[in-house]
């Protein structure tokens, strides 16, 4: 997906490398930001902050800690959750539940022009793995992942026992790990 050497070039101040990094990752990060924030404008504003932060602090990237994509996804998710919490602290209630998030998405524009065959295969594999989860497990994971809720908050939201929520998340994550593990053990995930 993203060559690790591309980040090394960005560290050196290579603007062309930074442009390529944006081309290869912006759709995924923007999709994630929209899913969390439920708003295109705010997602675009977030991505601007994220990429500028990447540009300034790319030297902190440690290849031993994960792939470049994982790093960018984690950073974007972290900043989006921060915004979400800041918004909540101001009394704004976002309608970014799973159903609402789906409702805010625009029509699927199709694969990114920078998406490779391997990228498409991986995306299909992830879609299949997530879709293969029981609805309850998928819901619990998405509330934690995209809305930043703790298991206790999820239990309140779903009106389920705390242990049940924990089990759903653990089982769901384990199934996703088992189904997708080949993508990073084979070194195909960049």
């Amino acid at each position: 997906m993203i060559d690790p050497t591309l980040l090394a070039r960005v560290v050196q101040g290579d603007q062309q490398a930074f442009s390529q990094l944006y081309d290869h990752s912006s759709t995924l990060l923007f999709t994630l930001a929209v899913r969390i924030l439920g708003n295109h404008d705010e997602a675009a504003e977030l991505l601007q902050d994220v990429y500028l932060e990447v540009w300034r602090k790319v030297s902190r990237y440690d290849v031993g800690r994960g792939t470049p994509v994982a790093w960018l996804v984690t950073l974007t998710k972290s900043r989006a959750i921060d915004r979400l919490r800041a918004r909540a602290s101001r009394g704004y209630r976002a309608t970014n539940s799973l159903e609402a998030g789906t409702a805010t998405q625009v029509a699927d524009p199709g694969p990114s022009p920078f998406e490779t065959q391997a990228d498409q295969e991986l995306r299909i594999a992830v879609e299949a793995a997530v879709a293969g989860l029981p609805q309850a497990q998928q819901q619990a994971i998405e509330l934690a992942y995209y809305e930043g809720l703790s298991h206790a908050e999820i239990a309140v939201r779903l009106n389920q026992p705390l242990g049940t929520v924990k089990t759903r998340i653990k089982l769901g994550m384990s199934k996703l790990r088992d189904g997708l593990q080949q993508w990073w053990t084979h070194g195909e995930l960049q």
């Binding site: 759709t27 994630l32 902190r60 994982a70 950073l75 900043r79 998405q105 934690a144 298991h151 790990r177």
Partner: protein, 338 residues
């Protein structure tokens, strides 16, 4: 929390579902160096990073790239400068590298009691890890020492075995030497017995010839050959005196059988009523025997069982009246070289 509880919280951590206390407990545990939890977390974080791929893609506005490219100031911060920024004390839920990218929003900032609690927990965890590490290192050292001791004992046993083998071989060699010495002695004894048997045989032959008369008389050559076969026989040469300057001779003496054999040449014929007599001279002359010279130019004399004359300094042959004399009275004809 037990290790099992911490381990079970790893997938929830990666999904971002832990509350603050649980998150900090797991982070402290990870900082203590638990390899199994680290490995599990790496897998679950890889899963978490893939989740957005399951969403329907949404492209960003076209103008966003230009805005971002235009806003890239200042230039990327070098590693050294970036490392000087204050590090966050904790990771955000499921965000394994969030300590590198502190959240910009002030929400959920740490209170002082939480910070102190976390600091205490970290100190305890690091201290525990150091103690565990010291104990593990000590265990490894002890194990190494035990292995070295075992190896040393094995080498010592091998060395003792080699010593025993060398000792056995030395003992076998000594036995072989003794046996060889014994065989040598036996061979020498057998050789001596053989010589003795030959001498006895020769003596028996002489006696037989004396008893059997002229029919079985051995030739001088036979006598000489017999004597020459005897090892360590002594030889003394004799030269003619002024009475017989052309005369010469030599005698052979076998100390074991005490036989003396004299051979002489060019002695004058002994007149009638005289005889040649052989003397061994110690402090005083001792007669060994008499012999006649007829017309021949050579003569020989075989004397049996003469007294030992190993101390004799000189041998001489004189002409004496028939039958010989106890002491030399006539002229000396042959004299040994002293």
């Amino acid at each position: 929390m037990t290790h099992e509880e911490l381990q079970e919280s790893v997938p929830l951590y990666a999904a971002g579902a832990l509350d603050r206390i649980e998150r900090q407990a797991l982070e402290a545990h990870l900082l203590s160096g638990c390899a199994s939890c680290h490995s599990a977390l790496k897998d679950y974080q890889s899963v978490a990073a893939l989740l957005p791929l399951g969403l329907s893609p949404t492209s960003p506005p076209r103008s966003l790239k230009a805005t971002i490219m235009a806003g890239r100031n200042p230039a990327p911060i070098p590693t050294e400068a970036a490392s000087k920024e204050p590090a966050r004390p904790s990771l955000e839920p499921g965000e394994w590298m969030n300590h590198l990218f502190p959240p910009t929003a002030p929400a959920r900032s740490l209170s002082l009691p939480w910070a102190l609690g976390l600091a205490t927990l970290l100190i305890v965890a690091v201290g525990g890890y150091l103690v565990w590490n010291f104990a593990a290192q000590r265990s490894v050292d002890t194990s190494n020492i035990q292995q070295l001791e075992a190896s040393l004992q094995e080498k010592s046993a091998t060395l003792a075995g080699v010593h025993r083998e060398v000792g056995d071989q030395a003992k076998a060699l000594a036995e072989l030497r003794n046996e060889m010495q014994q065989r040598t002695n036996e061979a020498a004894e057998a050789k001596e017995q053989l010589v003795q048997r030959e001498a006895e045989l020769e003596e028996a032959r002489v006696q037989l010839s004396q008893q059997g008369g002229a029919r079985i008389v051995g030739t001088p050559q036979d006598e000489l050959a017999t004597l020459l076969r005897i090892p360590n026989v002594k030889a003394v040469s004799l030269t003619g005196s002024d009475m017989a300057k052309r005369a010469a001779g030599f005698l052979l003496y076998d100390s074991r059988t005490q036989n003396v054999w004299l051979y002489s040449v060019n002695l004058p014929e002994s007149p009638a009523g005289t005889t040649y007599q052989l003397w061994a001279i110690y402090n005083k002359p001792v007669s060994i025997g008499t012999f006649q010279m007829d017309t021949g130019e050579t003569a020989h004399l075989l004397v049996k069982k003469v007294p030992s004359f190993k101390d004799a300094k000189t041998f001489a042959v004189s002409l004496e009246p028939s039958g010989g004399r106890p002491q030399p009275t006539g002229q000396i004809y042959l004299l040994s070289r002293s």
